[in-house]
């Protein structure tokens, strides 16, 4: 089976580098975008299996990008990345079917493990898995 491809959209290069490393350790292929516009472009071109989306970015922010993603793609697993827990933003994001939240200041190892389990239960993953292995969707 091919590696799952994850797109990280975040404007902080240090965080991108570290989460990329973590995800790669967990067997993902990682592509990155440093702003929302580039992120949307890469979703179209590279067709990632999941997106990690920073909520606070200059230009279009995470919520705006998420709205645009949901227009064409209802099932793509999207994880919202945020520097701190802001309830209001969480509620806003929840309306758009998000797979989970990643708090930047918490243990990234644990967060990546959570992503992995969330992706495994997402309908998209089942679909990919079925297609690539020919198995039933019993993941």
């Amino acid at each position: 089976m091919d590696k799952l491809k994850v797109l990280v959209v975040d404007d902080e290069p240090d965080f991108v580098e570290l989460i990329k490393c973590r995800l790669e350790c967990n067997g993902y292929e990682v592509i990155v975008a440093f702003n929302g516009i580039d992120g949307l472009k890469k979703i179209k071109e590279e067709k990632p299996n999941a997106v990690l989306l920073d909520i606070l970015m200059p230009g279009p922010d995470g919520i705006e990008v998420l709205q645009k993603i949901r227009k064409d793609n209802k099932d793509l697993p999207v994880f919202i990345v945020t520097a701190f827990s802001n309830q209001e933003r969480f509620e806003q994001a929840k309306q758009y079917n998000v797979s989970g939240f990643i708090i930047k200041t918490s243990d990234l190892k644990q967060e990546v493990a959570n992503i992995t389990s969330a992706i495994r239960v997402s309908p998209m993953y089942k679909f990919i898995n079925k297609k690539s292995t020919g198995q039933r969707d019993d993941v």
Binding site: E24, G27, K109
Partner: protein, 412 residues
């Protein structure tokens, strides 16, 4: 004394009222208690407590009975103007029997927009020590009668006995607000400190527990990230300390006779390399005849470096930064102009505020750090002024006005 002519029963009422007012630390509850009791005692429909805004030299309505919210929110009266303004300025209580025929005040009647059902009103200053902190006004007796001398004495006594309670509640309100601001500031700083800390922790973990099967793993890259974030923490702590010292008046400025043109040239040459790397062109326009001022060379350098670094950060590749120095009467004006992202109108006011500039919730002004709050402190220690003219997408222009000489004598 006013109290002597009041019967014992009324005195007791006043002291009870005062006790109630003093017991309340909440400014609104305190004033409401006073106004409600006053309305009972004097039988009035309208009552208000106005407080002095020292900065603007105006009175505003803090709490009122029987007035609509619009009037409460929007009434501002200059000290010396109108009835309450007169009372505050002259520090004299006032009993008006017939406003329509009062030579001093009848002209204000039409501005009261029909709020009075009778032409009689009372207005008394609220004093703490020798200072007038506000005015208490009552009008519209339910009996439609005019206020008596006894009413006048009663309200004067109430004002005398409750002014200190109002003042205490005000101080308490102010202290509470400061505590809230401090909490916000501390929590913003914690977030700001936590970001680099997390990155450092994560980097170390990646180095200690070296991941297997990762082609992209580069230990140097990860250690560099850790180092960069340690520097970021260090800088943040240093500016925190610097700002705290400046604000507490613990930092001194060491004024010497400096050549501003030379200082600016030094600053420009310092950032030349970073600018060139971003293909930003640095221009100078020093159309000034005489560029010497009394100022602290290091501190002003710190301010200019901060402005230049911000300009570099927010100006995209290929942009321009212009540093100007000109004469403005007896003062000199320095400006740093860029072709960067500009600043939203709502953010301009917040830029120099340390309580706001750390706010990581707004990415557009994030990254300014405490720098501008520090600049503002330094410039105000030089008795100068710093301000910004900017529009989103149109670039920003930071201006500084510095007096040439604070010592009153001008040396060549």
């Amino acid at each position: 004394m006013t109290s002597k002519v009041l019967p014992h029963k009324k005195m007791v009422v006043v002291f009870e009222l005062a006790k109630e007012a003093h017991a309340s630390m909440d400014i609104e509850k305190c004033i409401d208690a006073i106004l409600n009791r006053v309305s009972d005692i004097l039988g009035t429909e309208l009552g208000s407590v106005m407080l002095v805004d020292d900065k603007k030299q105006e009175l505003f309505i803090k709490r009122a009975n029987g007035l609509n919210q619009d009037i409460i929110n929007n009434t501002r009266i200059k000290i010396g103007e109108g009835i309450s303004g007169w009372v505050a300025k002259e520090d004299e209580p006032l009993l008006i029997n017939d406003l329509s025929h009062d030579r001093r005040f009848k002209r204000y009647k039409k501005t009261m927009s029909g709020r009075y059902t009778t032409d009689s009103l009372l207005s008394v200053p609220l004093k703490v020590g020798k200072k007038v902190i506000g005015v208490i006004n009552v009008s519209n007796k339910k009996t439609k009668r005019i206020f008596t001398k006894e009413d006048f004495q009663m309200l004067s006594l109430i004002a005398e006995e409750t002014a200190l309670a109002i003042q205490n509640a005000l101080i308490h309100e102010h202290a509470k607000r400061l505590a809230d601001l401090k909490l916000d500031f501390v929590s913003d700083i914690s977030h700001e400190l936590k970001n680099p800390l997390t990155v450092i922790r994560e980097s170390i973990d990646l180095v200690l527990n070296k991941p297997k099967n990762n082609k992209g793993y580069d230990i140097n890259k990860i250690l560099n990230i850790a180092q960069k974030n340690i520097d970021r923490l260090d800088r943040l702590l240093e500016s925190l300390l610097d700002l705290a010292q400046l604000e507490a008046g613990k930092a001194f400025i060491n004024r010497t006779y400096i050549d501003m043109k030379k200082l600016l040239k030094d600053c420009v040459s310092f950032v030349q390399y970073s600018a060139a790397r971003k293909s930003i062109s640095l221009k100078t326009d020093f159309s000034i005849r005489y560029s010497k001022v009394w100022a602290d060379y290091d501190r002003i350098t710190q301010v200019i470096n901060n402005l230049l670094n911000n300009a570099l950060k927010f100006t995209p590749k290929g942009g321009n930064i212009t540093i100007k120095l000109r004469e403005k009467g007896k003062d000199i004006e320095i400006s740093v102009q860029d072709t960067g992202t500009g600043i939203k109108k709502k953010d301009i006011k917040r830029l120099f505020n340390k309580f706001e500039c750390l706010d990581a919730r707004d990415k557009d002004i994030k990254g300014m750090g405490l720098g501008l709050a520090i600049c503002k402190e330094i410039i105000s220690m030089h008795k100068g002024r710093i301000w910004v003219v900017a529009k989103p997408g149109k670039g920003s222009e930071f201006n500084i006005l510095l007096p040439r000489d604070l010592r009153g004598t001008r040396k060549e």
